[in-house]
Amino acid sequence: MSTSSDNGSVNAGPGKGGQNTPSRHHANHGKRVAVVRSKRTLKQKLQWLSDHVRNEWQLYLMLLPTIVWFMVFLYKPMYGLQIAFKDYSIFRGVAASPWVGLEHFELLFTNDQFVRAFWNTIKISALNLLFAFPAPIILALMFNEILHATYKRAAQTIVYLPHFISSVIIAGIVITAFSPSVGVVNTVLSWFGIDSIYFLTKPEWFRPIFIGTGIWQEAGFGSIVFLAAIAGVSPSLYESAVVDGASRWQMMWKITLPSILPTIIIMLIIRIGNIMEVSFELIILLYQPATYSTADVVNTFVYRQGLQSGQYDFAAAAGLFNAVVAFVMVIIANTLARRYSKTSLW
């Protein structure tokens, strides 16, 4: 290994342009020689890190709020995860509660409601993947075909809007729209002589309504990512295809879609990783005991058991199980994506 190439790895650091001040160059000089001979020792690594942070402190400063957020809201609460293995009592506290091993999990897997909630989660997520995932892609492809700039902007704004409305209001709109007495859906049905249906009390209607609402709320906003990917496709690819005689439809299939495929795969991995996370808020707002059989998911189950019934340890076990399944799903999705399409999150 030559000194000059090592200079690159030490001074420039991973991915950082080596715009170092002259004094830093000088300070590094002695160390650089030592690094050539063997692997870096821990001390040298720490030295490198502290130099690096001192040099790029602005970037780390910008990163700090996110790290703090993760620490406070995600990592610190992990301490409390242990209550999933304990007979937890608020009065004794997390540390002092006695261990009970996997008792809560055994209870969980024999609990009909939990098993039902688990399968409901999987089913809703699968349907989401099938219908709600392609929606923003299709929308982005459609926007891309609109030539009139003003019309395009107006159409985009309109479909983005529901994203900025609170889920509570969205649920309110949905409940009103499907109401048997004043709802627009039943009004339309009555024109065709169909009797009013109380959609939100019918288990078989919950999933279509929930997924449809999700599409309405998020598809427009979700299309931004794909539109950005489409914007990144070199215009000369299209021009060349035009000269070759491709129609707009052919260009969409043969150029646009393959070009944004990496983005689609990344979004799919994220989506699969979130397969256990159906949008909890919207379910809480739309479901009712009559539709529990199709609507109750793990998160709502945890909410009811933990916060409403005060079985914190049992709910923690359910939540932990959910998280483990999600974790495994992300790893599987990412590995598959990396193997078959050479695109992956990490």
Binding site: S234, S236, A241, V242, D244, G245, A246, K254, S259
Partner: protein, 363 residues
């Protein structure tokens, strides 16, 4: 005959007119190069021929048929783009076959044609690779393969070599020339590189600011530039241009530049006292006395050795003058140069105001 004819072509973007009524006729099998500085309208003109840009006014005909309102795919042209425009997700074979697939050609026909084309371009070993796994030169060849696979009437090249390094560019230039000889297709080639234009073209079209400055064979443009723009654009280093004043005397026509007198060719049409620009190619100066040449005292600023030749950067007063001379393997003697000799028949004269050439010819 598959020629291309442009008649008073205008192009406007909103209120901005970028091409101001150009006329050009490209003969069948001819290789015409549009050359000019960036923003001169050469690429726009090419794209109008391809049908990628609308024509604001005028007529474009290909093969005797007006194509103003004909879609690009029906014009039977193929275009090679500066950034190759290869599909990153398709292998070389599929990239070359793209145009044929779009036209729903039979599988056998596609396999046969692609095989032929890749053989011509030396791409056969790379058919299974993706564009990202190819070198710049290979990508350029794939881009050309995509164009020739369709046997179009007209080839359009939009600065195809600009993304290559100097060495590859020279190599690909020769390859394009060889290919044109072999296929004999009508070609319109856009570049800002005058060397590319000189080496490739049957005829060069020099454009500037949306106008055609001159059309001619490479040597015509080199020896008889129509104006100061062409004179400064064609040739490297460019023609020296010095402002001077005409002095018609009994023993011939002369021009004075900073008290230095240039003897001019007799056949030029100038008046006493006329303000002119004297043009002299760097390689036309002599550093040793020549019969009948004007003697020009200069101060030498810098000698740049290029190998077999050297550039002398000299000046007359505030006017810079570049001279190209043979070294014969040594440059020491060049540092003593104090006088240059300018043979009268090699001096070009342009009107100072219009920039138009006043010399008929050097012959």
């Amino acid at each position: 005959m598959s020629g291309v004819k442009l008649e008073s072509i205008f192009k406007c973007y909103g209120n901005l007119e970028v091409v101001h009524g150009i006329d050009l006729e490209v003969q069948e099998k001819e290789f015409v190069v549009l050359v000019g500085p960036s923003g001169c309208g050469k690429s726009t003109t090419l794209r109008m021929i391809a049908g990628l840009e609308e024509i604001t006014d005028g007529t474009i005909s290909i093969d005797g048929r007006e194509v103003n309102r004909v879609a690009p795919k029906d014009r039977d042209v193929a275009m090679v783009f500066q950034n190759y425009a290869l599909y990153p997700h398709l292998k070389v074979f599929e990239n070359i076959a793209f145009g044929l697939r779009i036209r729903k050609e039979s599988k056998e026909h596609i396999a046969k044609t692609v095989a032929e084309v890749s053989e011509i371009l030396g791409l056969t070993p790379y058919l299974d690779r993706k564009p990202a796994e190819l070198s710049g030169g290979q990508r350029q060849r794939v881009a050309m393969g995509r164009a020739i696979v369709r046997h179009p009437k007209v080839f359009l090249f939009d600065e195809p070599l600009s993304n290559l390094d100097a060495k590859l560019r020279t190599q690909m230039r020769a390859e394009i020339k060889r290919l044109h000889k072999r296929l004999g297709a009508t070609s319109v080639y856009v570049t800002h590189d005058q060397v590319e234009a000189m080496t490739l073209a049957d005829r060069i079209v020099v454009m500037n600011d949306g106008y055609i400055e001159q059309i001619g064979t490479p040597m015509e443009l080199f020896t008889n530039p129509a104006n100061t723009f062409v004179a400064s654009f064609i040739g490297s280093p460019p023609m020296n241009q010095l402002p001077g004043v005409i002095d018609v005397t009994s023993d011939g026509k002369k021009a004075t530049v900073n008290d230095v007198t240039f003897t001019l060719p007799d056949h030029i049409n100038v008046e006493n006292g006329q303000a002119v620009v004297i043009g002299m190619r760097p390689e036309h100066f002599s550093i040793s006395p020549v019969d009948g040449a004007s003697t020009i005292p200069v101060s030498l600023n810098l000698v740049e050795p290029l190998g077999s030749e050297a550039l002398l950067h000299t000046s007359i007063g505030e006017h810079a003058l570049v001279v190209k001379t043979e070294t014969h393997g040594a440059i020491d003697h060049l540092s003593n140069v104090q006088h240059l000799y300018a043979p009268a028949n090699l001096v070009s004269v342009f009107d100072a105001e219009s920039g138009l050439a006043l010399t008929g010819s050097h012959n």
